[in-house]
Symmetry: C2
Subunit: 365 residues, 2 copies
């Protein structure tokens, strides 16, 4: 347990607890057909029957989902793209092309990110850090993945109809976007649009804030099986969760839920064991977005969902509304990523993991 001073932002080795914690003002989720048929189907904002969203390629479809998620998020909060100071976005594809092509039309100054399936956590962390630092009133965080483009990128094009082991994940077709607002109503200093922004009312500010972050480090237990990413990512999830406890002086008792990104059922059981080895027991508090998003038996998705979109759309559609209502008071959201490429895999490199922790809290009226 660390001895920290109240009012100080920096906690322990890897965490920040914000003095003026920014709000998540709105969020939106766009998903494919399989996700729409799953247990969370009714909560998503937008879906599409053929998973192409009117595009000609899987990559272009993924870009379209990102753009739609951003536009929906902005629309919900009645905020225009020009009011967004910085955008933080990423996806799984090589050179983050789904993001570049997806957010281009919005013309928001942007930071491209890569953290594999942990990218939604990375984007929310940086958006929260930038808003809390007073670098602008609004920040946008967006991530996506697409089953078709991810299979082509990491495994085989869909036409090959290859078989998958039971430990394999099913990449979520989906994009989630989040509008983060600074806790303070400071002008953004741009005199040309400042007058207009001063008049924005704050009635749409939600009751959820990013209270803090625990930035993850790369954790490598030497596993090399790209068809068992839950096992590759579980050590990183453990590392970030335990570090969050140590940095903040909290334990599983202080969170309503600890929600990982896409460990799936194989990764979950490994996580439980690893965390127990550190003296904590999170079994009663743990949820995993990859296990929530599909009906494992009915939808034949093996270990569970995965991808940058998995944690993002589950947060936007299922988790945030519960925090907004106050059903949950505080959660630790921990998207998990497996750091591999076809090149590193073919060269025999191991698959290290990374996980970023985001502390989300309900703010009473």
């Amino acid at each position: 347990m660390k001895d920290f001073t109240e009012g100080q932002i920096i906690r322990g080795k890897q965490s920040l607890l914000f003095e003026n914690a920014p709000y998540i003002v709105s969020a939106a989720s766009v998903v494919g057909s399989k996700e729409a048929e799953g247990p969370l189907g009714k909560y998503f904002d937008m879906t599409n029957e053929d998973d192409l969203f009117g595009a000609q390629t899987w990559e272009e479809a993924e870009s379209t989902m990102q753009k739609e998620a951003c536009v929906l998020t902005l629309g919900k909060a009645h905020v225009k793209a020009e009011e967004i100071r910085y955008l933080f976005g990423g996806d799984l594809l090589r050179q983050g092309i789904a993001t570049s092509m997806g957010v281009e039309a919005l013309q928001i100054p942007m930071f491209g990110l890569y953290g594999a399936c942990s990218t939604s956590g990375e984007a929310l962390a940086l958006a929260g850090m930038s808003a809390a630092a007073g670098y602008g009133r609004y920040m946008l965080a967006v991530t996506s993945s697409h089953f078709g483009s991810a299979e082509k990128e990491f495994r085989f094009p869909l036409g090959y109809a290859n078989q998958r082991p039971l430990s394999a994940h099913w990449t979520v077709t989906g994009s989630g976007a989040f509008l983060v607002r600074s806790a303070e109503n400071e002008s953004d200093g741009d005199s040309s649009s400042g007058a207009e922004e001063q008049d924005v009312d704050t009635s749409h500010i939600s009751h959820v804030r990013i209270a803090g972050v625990t930035v993850g480090k790369i954790v490598d237990y030497g596993l090399k099986d790209s068809q068992n990413m839950g096992a590759c990512m579980a050590p990183a999830a453990m590392d970030t969760i335990v570090q969050n406890f140590e940095d903040t002086g909290r334990s599983e008792e202080d969170y309503d839920h600890i929600i990982t990104g896409d460990l799936g059922c194989v990764g979950q059981s490994i996580l439980f064991d690893l965390v127990r080895g550190k003296g904590y027991d999170i079994r009663k508090k743990h949820l995993d977005c990859g296990m929530l998003i599909y009906d494992r038996e009915r939808q034949d998705t093996h270990a569970g969902g995965s991808g940058c979109g998995c944690a993002a759309v589950t947060l936007a559609s299922f988790i945030l509304p519960r925090l907004e209502k106050g059903e949950w008071k505080r959660i630790l959201f921990v998207p998990t990523g497996a750091l591999l490429s076809t090149v590193s895999f073919n060269e025999g490199a191991s698959v290290p993991g990374i996980a970023h922790g985001i502390i989300l809290e309900h703010v009473p009226e």
Copy 2:
């Protein structure tokens, strides 16, 4: 010209000028044999004859360069890896694998980035923003590229011996790392290591600070020629440079130099024309890292150098020492990136660009 209030961080639409501007405490450059033979050869910290740095593959060699650049940078400032709060890093390879494998051993909480060849600007911007916000005493920014791994990733494996048009760039084999230190000597709140860090003397603080940033947006003029990246990136460079002028109320007169990342000679002439169209003339102030790093005639590098490593090693070896000595008082460093992948290129997508501007200033004794 904007009417801004002194002491306010946010300027105009895309820029930040820091109240407590952080310092670049140290920097290091690791390069391949061709770069060592070029005009800047004598300034680099480390080189290697066969460009493999003791590794078996180009990717592993690139990771080794990143690790060595980080270790050298830390060593120059007598700072240990555990004292670094957050690392911001990226490279050109799919899924940023050179960075993941390169910095893994340092065990620093990290944010993976992708901004193509603009990534060194993105990393310095985020490291500067995090340090200026008081999120930690030390931040590390690192990027790399490797001719062998980049040709394999984007064009053809070296063994194919393909011919290149004169507008093509030569990807720099190199990695640059930068240690950014907060202007304030606050403790990082970790009681276990705090005492030790309190004793660190400040004599190694350099005379260069990150005074501000202009975060770039994606600029797409519809060009599709991946063998003429200078033309693809020039519009983004213009956009960021002109936005910096407008946001800060400055012009080319206020900078000793405006230094782009890797436009090369083709991109440079386009940049001059585009900037002139906006009412500025930067011809006397402009330098380009891609043109500085190679001797175009002698080294047969066509349009110039490129890659995440190009701007990074030129900044570390050639630019920062001139700022440190006060030979230059203020520069605008503008790494430029072309956002493409083999998939987007093969699908006929255009190659948009992005450029991030970093204002670097000499601080007198």
